[in-house]
Amino acid sequence: MAAPGGNTTKIKVGWAVLFVVTLVYALFPVFSILMTSFKTPGDLASNTLLPASFTWQNYEEIFVGGAQTLFLSALVNSIGITLIATAIAVVLATLCAYAVARFDFPGKKVILASALAVSIFPVISVVTPLFNLWRTIGLYDTWIGLIIPYLSLTLPLSIWTLSAFFRQIPWELEAAAQVDGATQWQAFRKAIVPLAAPGVFTTAILAFFIAWNDFVYGISLTSTEAARPVPAALAFFTGASQFEEPAGAISAAAIVVTVPVVILVVLFQRQIVSGLTQGAVKG
């Protein structure tokens, strides 16, 4: 008994070490930026990790100070555009994936393949023609002008993850519910939706991240505060005076835009749990 016991302990320790290393690797940059956001302008060049003295100066700068107009409007743009793009993507992808998973129809493979094909083209190769087109038809520097390209990023991914997820749903439950006395709509709502919800939430969060983090479209297809999202706006930050580096304010802004993402994940963590379909059918 001692040998296997020792073995599992070793394995546990191994996993723990790996876990810590990964965590540090992933979180160190975030921590570094967080610390930078608390530094005073003079402190920025100091090359130390921790600030010499903590200050809220950078946050004041972006929320009430000189960078306020730039940052706050960008924040509103980012939130608005990303939420709309995510919502549209998830609704469309859910309908599409439902059809793909549920029905046999000609052209099913074509839909999935073309969804994949769309996402193959690098953003940078699409953005120049798009820039010209948007200028011509008047979508340049508008919310819609960003929502459409964001959909081209989020839709393929959403369709693929959702149809993979929907294929695992035991659709027989719908039949069972109907026999139990449910209408077609009740059967869908009471037996299928609760099982599909985690997949839809997960997809929504992934789609949100993609749109939220976009930089190339954001910087290329906007020119003013009318539509410019946060990642693009950061590039336009200037220091309080032209001799100051904007690194402090940029760090503060970066932290601020990270917060909604963290909140989202924490909030929907329960919904993302997988394996909820387990036990529906035998075997």
Binding site: P170, E172, L173, A175, A176, A177, Q178, V179, D180, G181, A182, T183, Q186, K190, A191, P194, L195, G275, L276, T277, Q278, G279, A280, V281, K282, G283
Partner: protein, 420 residues
């Protein structure tokens, strides 16, 4: 409580394949009918047509005399246990069972729902699992939850699609008894799909045998066993399967590859003039002449055979005898084996003898055969030439009487229990 009538039901799927072809069955109120047949013969399809999950291509389905072809499943008021249970994984056991009750908005108060679910869970011994989710239950427990969900509603009829197929042998035996008692107590019309012989024979008031979507015979288990209508039913019912020996009837005697013997007059007439017939002899129609009781001896004939090997199973013993296969029936027997999902046929006679019998492989032995129970089949059409419909119907009538008596007894018992 309801009668169900299937009238010439046909189901053609999109690819045109008739999964169910011209099936007619009258199911009486309170009757327990079994559907059996090899895999893919259309049992599940038929059940799904009854419950309304599958459109009916042709024919009529009547519940309590009313045509329900185009009625939605929820309005047919039938309940079903699915081949793979189909439990709601996001709901607790309690909520799974309560699901059908909650759908009938306003019909049951909260307390009534709780009472009904508790009653059912008591009966199925699920009380301690009510708060758990299906994912954490064992196969047998899930099966009982599926049963609970089906019976909580007092539907017009219960439909079961191989509910026990995934359980181990012991649990299957227990559940079989439970289902049988439950059905007798509630007296609810039931249709039960299985391909387990034992379930079919023990549970059913009547058993319908299907082959490739077509109804072969519907009768009480006894009638199927004693008076099979054709070669397929004869081979499918009974384990081990019936032996089919190629033979001819000449001068009132049956000449078979393992010896000749006298047969009753009716059999002689049935087989006369045929080039070749198949004699259907069940393994249990044979006996070792050594261990035979004297009184039986006169009813049968004796055969001299050479034994190839034996199998002793404790409570029974099988003796195998090789014979020459006749080329003229080889194809018939081969396609029969394929229809039944069995392995290839070997020209081998299976004989059931008493476990005390001392016969061993290589011995020459005298075997007794009960000639009165032999059936003769036409190899070309598969028809049973010695089929006695009257005798068969009598067996089924007796089974029906038995069921009615059982139901009355069960009713008296519940009334007595209610009074005390």
């Amino acid at each position: 409580m309801a009668s169900i009538e299937l009238k010439n039901l046909v189901k053609k799927y999109a690819d045109g394949y008739p999964a169910v072809n011209d099936v007619s069955i009258d199911i009486e109120d309170g009757e327990f009918v079994i559907l059996v047949g090899p895999s893919g013969c259309g049992k599940s399809t038929l059940l799904r047509m009854i419950v309304g999950l599958e459109d009916i291509t042709e024919g009529d389905l009547l519940i309590d005399g009313e045509r329900v072809n185009d009625v939605a499943p929820r309005q047919r008021d039938l309940s079903m246990v699915f081949q793979n249970y189909a439990l709601y994984p996001h709901l607790t056991v309690f909520e799974n069972i309560a699901f059908p009750l909650r759908l009938q908005k306003g019909r049951f108060s909260k307390k009534e729902v709780t009472d009904k679910v508790n009653g059912v869970s008591e009966m199925l011994e699920l009380n301690e699992h009510l708060k758990r989710r299906p994912g954490n239950l064992s196969g047998g427990q899930r099966q009982r939850v599926a049963m609970g969900r089906a019976i909580v509603r007092e539907a017009k009829a219960f439909l079961f699609d191989e509910p026990l197929s995934n359980l181990d042998a012991k649990l299957r035996g227990q559940m079989r008894t439970q289902i049988s008692q439950l059905q007798r107590r509630l007296g609810t019309t039931s249709v039960y799909v299985t391909h387990d012989q034992v379930e079919a024979m023990t549970l059913g008031d009547r058993v319908a045998v299907l082959k490739k979507g077509e109804l072969q015979q519907i009768a009480s288990p006894r009638e199927l066993y004693e008076q099979p209508a054709n070669l397929f039913v004869a081979g499918f019912i009974g384990a081990p399967s019936m032996n089919f020996l190629p033979c001819t009837v000449t001068d009132g005697r049956l000449s078979t590859p393992v010896g000749d013997f006298d047969i009753p007059e009716g059999h002689q007439r049935a087989g006369e003039g045929k080039d070749i017939v198949l004699a259907g002899i069940r393994p249990e129609f044979f006996e070792d002449a050594e261990t035979l009781e004297g009184s039986k001896r006169d009813r049968g004939s004796l055969l001299e055979v050479e034994i190839s090997h034996t199998e002793w199973l404790g409570n029974e013993q099988y003796v195998y005898v090789h014979y020459e296969m006749d080329k003229r029936v080889e194809d018939t027997l081969q396609s029969l084996a394929e229809d039944m999902d069995a392995d290839e046929t070997r020209p081998e006679l299976v004989i059931s003898v008493s476990p005390e019998s001392k016969l061993r492989g290589g011995d020459r032995a005298t075997i007794w055969v009960d000639v009165s129970r032999i059936h003769l089949f036409d190899p070309a059409t598969g028809e049973n030439l010695t089929h006695d419909p009257e005798a068969g119907a009598e067996l089924t009538r007796r089974a029906a009487d038995e069921r009615r008596r059982d139901a009355e007894r069960a009713k008296e018992r519940t009334e007595a229990a209610a009074q005390s």
